[in-house]
Structures are given as C-alpha cells and as structure tokens.
Symmetry: D2
Subunit: 381 residues, 4 copies
Amino acid sequence: MIRIAAVLVDRANYGRMKPVLKILDEDKDVDLKIIATGTMLLDRFGMAVEVVKRDGFNVSDEIYIELEGSVPSTMAKSIGLSIIELSNVYQRLNPEFVLIIGDRSEALGAAIAAVYQNFCLIHIQGGEITGSIDESARHAITKLAHYHFPSTYKSYKNILQMGEKKSSVFFSGCPSADVVRIARKSMKIPDLNGGVGTNIDFNQDFLLVLYHPVTTEYFSAEKSMIELLEALKKVNMQTILIWPNIDAGSDGVSQAIRRFREFNPDLKLRAFKNFEPEDFIPLLDNAKCLVGNSSSFIRDASFLGTPVVLVGSRQDGRERAPAVTQVVEDRFLIANAIEHQMRHGKYPESELYGKPGVSDKIASIIKNLEKVQQKKFVVSK
Amino acid sequence: MIRIAAVLVDRANYGRMKPVLKILDEDKDVDLKIIATGTMLLDRFGMAVEVVKRDGFNVSDEIYIELEGSVPSTMAKSIGLSIIELSNVYQRLNPEFVLIIGDRSEALGAAIAAVYQNFCLIHIQGGEITGSIDESARHAITKLAHYHFPSTYKSYKNILQMGEKKSSVFFSGCPSADVVRIARKSMKIPDLNGGVGTNIDFNQDFLLVLYHPVTTEYFSAEKSMIELLEALKKVNMQTILIWPNIDAGSDGVSQAIRRFREFNPDLKLRAFKNFEPEDFIPLLDNAKCLVGNSSSFIRDASFLGTPVVLVGSRQDGRERAPAVTQVVEDRFLIANAIEHQMRHGKYPESELYGKPGVSDKIASIIKNLEKVQQKKFVVSK
Amino acid sequence: MIRIAAVLVDRANYGRMKPVLKILDEDKDVDLKIIATGTMLLDRFGMAVEVVKRDGFNVSDEIYIELEGSVPSTMAKSIGLSIIELSNVYQRLNPEFVLIIGDRSEALGAAIAAVYQNFCLIHIQGGEITGSIDESARHAITKLAHYHFPSTYKSYKNILQMGEKKSSVFFSGCPSADVVRIARKSMKIPDLNGGVGTNIDFNQDFLLVLYHPVTTEYFSAEKSMIELLEALKKVNMQTILIWPNIDAGSDGVSQAIRRFREFNPDLKLRAFKNFEPEDFIPLLDNAKCLVGNSSSFIRDASFLGTPVVLVGSRQDGRERAPAVTQVVEDRFLIANAIEHQMRHGKYPESELYGKPGVSDKIASIIKNLEKVQQKKFVVSK
Amino acid sequence: MIRIAAVLVDRANYGRMKPVLKILDEDKDVDLKIIATGTMLLDRFGMAVEVVKRDGFNVSDEIYIELEGSVPSTMAKSIGLSIIELSNVYQRLNPEFVLIIGDRSEALGAAIAAVYQNFCLIHIQGGEITGSIDESARHAITKLAHYHFPSTYKSYKNILQMGEKKSSVFFSGCPSADVVRIARKSMKIPDLNGGVGTNIDFNQDFLLVLYHPVTTEYFSAEKSMIELLEALKKVNMQTILIWPNIDAGSDGVSQAIRRFREFNPDLKLRAFKNFEPEDFIPLLDNAKCLVGNSSSFIRDASFLGTPVVLVGSRQDGRERAPAVTQVVEDRFLIANAIEHQMRHGKYPESELYGKPGVSDKIASIIKNLEKVQQKKFVVSK
C-alpha cells in the first residue's frame, strides 16, 4: 500500500490529472489523498473542487492560500502561504510520494514543502519552454523533483540536460491525450447556464477566448486585453470567453472585459468562470477558432486540430502543432489572424503531446517507483 | 544610481559576501540595501547582524523568520515565512537587483520573493554539487536567477548545462578568496571570550570542529555527532567547536554536544556560536586539523592548505583540494583520519576556488548588468 | 516630536479617520505614518488607498493581507497575516503610538501586533454594541488598547465597565461628525462614472443600498440579499448600490446581486465599489431612504436625518436615532418599511454620535498622551 | 456525540487541563481532539507533547508555530502563525466546541481562529488579574469566548463585570486542585535524569526556582535574573531550576543562567526543561521555598502551603494565599526573603483556587453546553 498525496492548484491541473487520479484511486494498492488548494477553492474561478467531488473523489484537505490583489507581491505571498500550510498537511498525511503537475506558482510551493520534508516528489509536464514566470517555476520544480513525466520528447531531453538522472525521467506524453479521447467520445453540448452575457447558439459558428496576464508584463495586461476585445468586435462573431487565472495582472484583464461589455452591450459574448473537462473539450473541438494564450490551446487543442490564434509572449518557446498562428497584442493583427484561421478551418490532428494511453502508463510507473530522498546533479559528458 | 538589495541569511553568507558588499557600499553609483534575516538575527547563532553593523554597514531590514523545532516542517515553514515577509520588503525598497549567495533554504525563499515580483536576481556560488537538500535548493535557485557568479570552472559549466544563457554566467571564483587574503594579513589571535568550556592555549595544537545535520538523515544526526565526539575523545586534543546551523536535526547535534560535555567534563573543548570572518580565518589557518562537514572546510580552507577530515555525506560531490580526506560517521575511522592528517601537516595552498581579486571582479560586473525580467531555457546543441 | 502609526484597513476606516489624520499630519510635533492594509488596497473595493494619496497623505506601507474565498477560514487567516506583517512594519517604524479605529478583523490583528511589541495602542469607536463577530472583536480590542475614544456616552460607560482606567477613556464623539459637516458644505453631486448599471438621474428620487454579510450567518448571506433585492424590485425606484465588504459570506451577497441584475435587466440599479467621503455624504443626505445594514446608515446618517431601513441583525444593539426602522430579511417587510420611510421623509438631525469639533478634540488629546505599556483591570466597587 | 477540540500551547496548560481532558476522553458521548502547539512541541521546553502521548491521549495535530528570537516581533508573529494554522485544523476537525486555558499569546491566537470561524469557545482561568502582557491577552480572550470557567470568586466577578452573560460564566475553581490531589497521593520522588548540573540530594533541603521574563520589561530580563542568581549564591542551598518560557526576554534569562553557571561552577544547581505534573507537584510540596514568578507558585502551590518568594511584577494583582511574599529584583531583598521564608516553614493549605472535584464539575457542565455563536455585551445596571 503506497500513500500518494496529489496536490491540485487550479482547474487546468485537475482537467489534465483526472485520468491518472482515477486509475490511482481505483487501485487497491494505492491510498490516494487529494489536496485541493489555490484557485480550486475560489468561487471566482468556478470552485473546481466541487467538480472533483462530483467526480467521486474524496478531498482530504481544502487549503485556502490565495491573496487578493493580483499584484506581484500577492502572488509571491500566496506561495509562502502554500508552503506553510502544505507543510502541516504533508506532515499529518505522511505520504510516500507527492504528485504535482505543471508550473503554477502554487505548484512550486507544493514542491518546496515536499522536498524540505523529505517526501519523494513526482512532477508531470516538466521540461517545456514558455514565456512568463511559469518558465522559471517549471524548471525550478524540475530541480526539486525526484521523478519526472514530461509530455514531449523535447521536454524529456531538456530535463536530462538539466542534470536529472536518466532513470528518473519517463517520457510519457501528456495525460490530456486521454482526457481528449474520453471527452470526445461523449461529445455532449456543454451546459451554458453558468455564464453571464448573451446566449450562444451552437448551430452557429463561435470563437473560444482565454487570455491570461503575463506576469512580467502585468502592468500592460489591461491594455493587451483591450486589443484582443477590439479584434473580437471587428470579427463580430459569437464568442465564449473564460475569465483569466489569478496571476499578477488578472484584475486588469477582468476589468477590461467588464468595461468592454458595459460599453458594447451588443457584443455576442458570454463569459464563464470555468468548465468541467467534459464540457471544455467539446468547446475546444467545435470552436471555429481559439483565441488567446492559454496553454490548453497549444496542448489540449493539438489533439483536435482546431485553429488557434496565439496572442502575445506567454507561450513563447512552447512546442506547437501547425494549427497555431502567433501574433502580438494588436487589434488589427489579431482580427486578421482570426479571419485567416477561420478560412483555413481544421488542421490535421497532432500527436506532439502524446497518444491515448498516457495515464495508464504514468500510473503504472508511479506504483513501482522507489522512494528516494536526495538526488544529485548529473554532469553531461 | 542602481539600487541593490543584498539578502544575508546566515553567518557564512556574510563571511563570504563581505568584501563584495564593501566595494558596492563604497561606490557612489550604488545604493546598497542590506536585509538581514534567517539565523543572522538569532542569539543562538551569535547574532551575526551585529557584526555587520560593527563593520559599518547599514542594515535596512531585520526580518525574523526561523521557526523553532529543527524538524523538517519548521524548515519548510521558515521558507514560507521568508517569502511572505521579503515580498513586503522588496515591494517597499523596489531594488533594481536582488543579490543572494549560496544554497540555504532561506536563500531559496529570497529568490522566489524576488523573481515573482519581477526583480532581477543575481546569485553567487551556484552550480556546485553536494549532498543534503542544499543540493536541490542550489540548482532550483539557479533556475530562478537571472545572473550567476559561480566559484569554480566546473560549477560554471554545470550552470551552462542547466540551460542558462552564456552571457548571464560569469566565472568569477569565490569571494572568500579575498576574505582569506585580507584576514591572513592581520593574522590576529581570535578573542575566545565568547565561548563556553575549557580554556584554549594557542601555543598548543588544537582542532577545529564544525558538524551540521544532513537534512535527509536528520533523525540520525545525534548518533552521527556522538561518533564524532567519541573520536575527539580518543584523539584527546584541545578542540574549538562551533554549534551547528538550524537545519532539521540541529537539536539532535546540539543535544549530543551538551550531553557529551556533561559526561566528559575533562574534555578540552570550548564551544562557540560564531566567529567574525577576521577571527575565523586564523583559526582555519592555525588549526592542526579541521573536522566535520562545514563547506568552509572545503572552500575557505582550500586557500590555506590546512588538513581536513570530512565526515559523512553532506559535501558529497563538492570539488575539493587534496587536503580533504573523507570518512563515514564512525568513531574509529574519524580518529584514525585525524591522526593521519595531523602527521601529514599542511598541504599546498589551492586556487580551486579562485584567486584574490574575485570581489572586485564581481562588483564591477554587477554595476554594468542590464536588468532583465524573464529568461528562457537554452537548449544545448 | 511624537511618531504615530495609523493603520487603515478599509474605506470606512479612512472615511471617519480622515479629519483626525489631517490635523495630526499638519502638526509639526507629530510624525504621522499611515499604513494601508486590508481592503484599502483592493480593486474590488475601490482601492481606497489611492484616495488617501490624492488627499495629500504619504502612505508609508502598503500591506496586502486579504485571502480570497470569503469563508470563515480565510477571514481568520487574514488576521494571522496582518499580525505577521504589521509586526515587521511596527518594528521598523518604531512609533510611540499606534492608532486604530473600529472593529474589523484586520483592526484586531493590528492591535495584537502593537501590544505584543509594547507599542502604546489608541482605539477610536470602542464600547459600542452590535451583532456579528465585530461585536466580539471590538471589545477584545478594548481590552488590548491603552487609550480609548468612544463615540457615544453609552459606549464610554461600557468601556469603563469593562475595567478600563477612567483616565484612559475620553468621551469624544465620533470624528464622522466632522466628516459630515465638511462634506455637507461642499455638497457636490457625486461623480457616477465609476459604477456599472443603469444611469441615475439626480433630479429624481433614489435609494442607497449597502448590505454586508453577517459572519455568524454567512451561509444564508445570499438568500438574505435576494430578499432585499426582491423588495427593491417591488419598490421600483432608482437605486445606488455599494458592493459588500470582504467578510465571510461576501461572495454570496455579490453573487445574488450579479444574478439579479442578469435576470432583471430593467432594474434601475447602478452598482459602485466605493465612494470618497466627499461623495458619500451627499448621497447619504439626498437619498430618499437608506436600505441595508451598514454602520454608516446608523452612524454617519444620524447627523443628516435621512430615513433608514435597517435589515437584519448586524447592527443589533447599536444605539440609533429615530430615523432608523429595523426589519428582518423578508421582501415584503423590507418593501413596506421602505415605503413607510419614503412617506415620512427626513427626520430631525441627531447628535447621538457627537457634535462637530470631535477631530480637534481627539487630536489634541492624543498629542498629550503619556506612553504606557502595561495596563491593569480596574475592579468596579 | 459532541466533538471538542482542546488546544494545548505549553506545559503548564497541559499540567492543569489533564484531569479535565481525562474525564472528557473517557466519556463515550465526547469525541475529544487534542491539538498540540506552541512550546508543547519544542525540545528546549521538554517536548511536553510526548508526556501527553505517554499519558494515553491521542494527539490529532502537532502544529509548530514558535519563531525563534524571543523578541517582541517573534512573539507577535507566532500568534499570527497560530491563527493561520489552527484555522485549517479547526476547519478540518469541525468541532462543536474549542477548549482553551489561560492567557498565553498562543491561546489568544487559538481563540481568534475559533470565533472567526463560528466555533463555540470555552475558556478556563479567565478573569484573573496579573502583570505582563498576559493581563491583556487574558481579558481579550474573555471578550472572545462564549463560556467561562474562572478559578476564583473574584475572577468570576471580574468576568461578569466585563459584560459577559451570567448564564455563560461558571465559578468552578481551578482544575489544578485535582492535579495536586492526585499527584500528592502518589508522592513519588521525581526522576532527575533529565537535567544538567550538580546532583540533588533529596534528603537535604532544596529550593525550586522558576523565573519568566516580563514582556513589557524584556530588555532588563537578563539583569533581573542575575539578581535572582546572586541571591541564590548568597543563600547557598541546593537548587532545582526550570528554564524560562519562550516570551520576549527569554534568551536574556537563559543567557544569565548559563553564564552564571560558567563562572560559578560550585553552585549546587540543577537545571531542567520541564517536569511532568506528577513530578512537579512533589517538588512544589517538598521544596523549602519557591523562588521566582511562575503562576504555578501562586496557584498550584497554594494548595500545598509551601513558602514562596515572588520576584518582580509579573504576578502583580493576582490573588494569593498568605504563603507568598513579594520582593523586587534585588539580590539582597531576594536573599533576605528566602531566608525569612525558610525560617517560617510551611503555611496552612489554602482553598483560594478551589477544592478537589473541579475537573468533574467542569467536564459535566461542558457536556451540557448549548452551542452559541454570537454573544452580546451585557450592560450592568
């Protein structure tokens, strides 16, 4: 019986980890503890923890850590709180392994609390290259983690380059491959009751928009979002928009959206806090074009071939399928790119981020890991 | 005028940074802010902040963050506190650069608070390889820092391997080269009033002992220290001992020392909390042998050629001069190694960790750094 | 020269303290430091700290402490953070006196950080009786504070009853008396650009609504707000609404408002985050009726005679002028009470909470206080 | 089945609560959760949590919160941490009642975390009058607590005076009455293995010394302790000494003790971190005289009649039996007072702090309490 503590810090974390967690939870040899923290618990982000519970998981701890303000110091302080509070939780649960995914600030906190207490740390989605502070956090987590499950071959190589031992790195692909496969089967039309704004007619074309602030440019987040919204006005199509994450600059992005709606009441836009994975994948699949800088547009959408207009620097360096076109934050360029992508239509589906079966692979490897405490840098020849 | 915030978290930090800080502080184009935190402020560790002030520096902030307990969770929580509180300090001081050194847990906290607030981070002593959790923290700091000043050529290469941009890494050597050069000139006999225990006669031979707990083996810290003390008893020589740092296991090491003194009142041992750099270097120089696992025995002593008996795994992988002999925590092996080293006497002085002039080099490069915010992983060819 | 650190934790704090702070700030013998924390710094609450700066004050420290979630544990944790962070601020500023007002959770944190560091604590607005957790916090602050400036005679007597020394309690009245006097003179029409919703025509009658959650009933906060909104729908009048404070239950109240607007787009309602004191007083004065449970309806409005419909238990026990009618959270009772109050029109102005000149009195007493550290309970005969 | 969370913050807390906890723990209708925090977990204070476990209790949570430094800001910050961390614990345990005792800073934190989360708070030992910051903390806790169990009639009256409802205050006496009764029965000779220093011969007379810093005079703590130690030197008797608590000034007191021992190796003094209640009571009973300012000398010793020399202001105002003689911190006055008390010998036993049976009384009332959330100030006629 191995005890594994999985820490979920936001909706995307859960969306991608879900199939892995399902397999571990159903395994009699595994005692899975799920810790929900970060924006998982916040109404403003759709209380993703409730989805976890509805999906049949037990949540052992719910830890509020997010400071309000969306400035750099609140982001930093929330990391501090995550370390303090998760230290207690780990100490009490005493797991053999701590399992985290991604590159959020809160995941960095979860990693530090684990390794300074000698808990063996497993990290999914390391080694990728992007912009924003996530780029630094991701690699710092890699240097703290004991085991790694990268999503792409390049990220696998990057982790090895950073001095991790070959036997600790497993090139698995991203579990979102399974999420997409499962959600595509059901292909239900998402329930749109949750949002605010105009109604969406699913027999008509629609766009899906998700734009997060870039922490190192947080002061210009509002301006950038206005450019994106002006582009939408030009394109003048039904739009489903998801509110941004909690990073520094988030208030500016949200402010831009609210003001824009106030002054453009005729915009055919409906805004949502969150979607369950099963609702989100069909949206990604059926949208005419995805606009913004969410990693889901690069990663999850790659399995589907939906055209993407990637706006700004946030995903700079991340590997991408041909469906992705990148533009800077300029209303004309964004509008042009959307129209170009609409004309093009669907691209071929890509296996850049893995093939179905990833989750089974990850879960079965995890079950057989040896618990290590202190690793050491491996010098390349 | 550039504002630089230097964060000092323990006595060794200050001992090595001092010549660099002196140069920056005397420079009219630099507004140096010194932040003292961690064990710098604690009586139990000799209140090193008072030394900083006596040396003529202004200390802008004194931030208490150390939780008592010396278990893994207190170590982790102190990192959390350091992030929360340094976030405020940086926000108020608004420096162009944050300057840190080494691999302490508190330095990792100082790094996170800096980069998540978009302050440009400079790190001294990255890229080295050792044991203990410091090994992980050091490399995680490297992946967060924007500029690097490694001490050895191998550590310079390791930083590049980890994907740092070549133009951001400066092979400078360790500023302790200057500390040793300066302290050696004066060559004063240290004032021994501060310690407790028997008197030391400096006309006779003496040992210098400093043994820190290894965090990943913190439960056996007391047992290991007892082995070392039993070895001292066998060797039966005048001994100057310094209390261990605050890491998990520290209480066990201290306990061992106190009990041992209680039951061995005839031991010629005097225990100190701390030494000023000017007192410490002559001790390193004049001791017949250095016993323990302090990084100063590997690094600072390398300039002096004093024989070292390195005990246990804490420095595993760290580059070392021929003067260092390593043994496991066993009383007989330690005693034998001490006797061997005593017979051998001084070794040649080494330039492994740099030549005098390091501090000038570091200070003048820092003054001309460009402020960057977001760096990106560099893939090796 | 005496150094006084004034801690402001929300918009109402500043609204009432402003004239006292103005006098102290202009006094050459006083070195006034203003610390802004709590919701003063949050966009969602109108960033009141910007008003402070526009009014010509220097703000020495801006300390983010509010955890997002608006559940009981986030409220409690924010107190914890306020203590940790204000401890640093006080330690650095080293004031002779710390000055706080009111009964917010963050003020309790500010009080604890002061007295445990031996700073002499002055408290304005102690001794009043109300509902909600503020009732407990207010009296706990009284038992920590060294000097007291109650607003009413009854609260003055209550403070003495609690065992405070007679010479430490000054029956001054509430400085809002001066705020109202000054704001009434200018009588400007408030700028409504900030809000969202329908436009307000100031030549027509309007209501002013402000309803905060009651922490001990936070789970029913949404339901209570719906009753209030349904009553507004019945009354069908132009309404200016202010979003609730951050207490546990706040998300429920805000949720109710947003949903109600969504489903009742014809409601003549405009919602604001915040008003400057100079804008708020004219609104209080010219509204046909004030509806909700804000203490400003009891306290500040008492000087003006505007009719009030007080909804629910939050102000239970607080002294009130005849203009206040209380009802439970029921749409019919609230609607009836509003209509009754509209028919009645203005009531006589009251001096229950003091006469103009309060702020001068408080400031001149503060300047002559002796610094005490440890007080002692006074047993009544 | 009622769930009660009892929070223990130091050795004295446990010493006095133990019989109440034993009764509640053995009751089938009660689900008792014991939370150990504060100095209960620290080696330096004898790890009292281990005693709790040896006594057969389950400890549900061990929460490290004490910051090292023993200055005012560390004391304040530890309160902040206690609130943050206990908020999580209460949220998870979801007790009907939270039970605390005494006036420690950490107990104030435990109280705030409870009432802001709407947990019903029971407080033992409120209403007493003393010096030090404990005086303020104790009364602030009373204004937060929903139910009160004062130890003396005067403290019962004081709680009522502060505006607490008569039906919420139960004049029970102090449970230490039962501790003394039980421990006296066994009357075992304490095991002195734990301490350091000279051996104690229990067939000879001995003194028992315990002196805590006074927080509002923490800068002079070392000087005061030296006076006490010089008095001991004059008296020249076997002495059992207990290290001070963790309050600001604690390092100074400890420093004085260590230095004094260093320079006076012939002093017949043995220093201990802690005693179990069963060992401590016989010491209190058999000592020729108790010297210092511990509340146990006033409270627990009152049942025994042992002469006390109370040093300094820390217990100013606390009710005391005739066995207590108070002097200021002066070596001559202390020495004289000790000699006077030695000549006098035992005083009559006192019932000032209650009669045996207190614990049963408290436990049976607790079992029948109604859960209230918001209380209200009661105005005296």
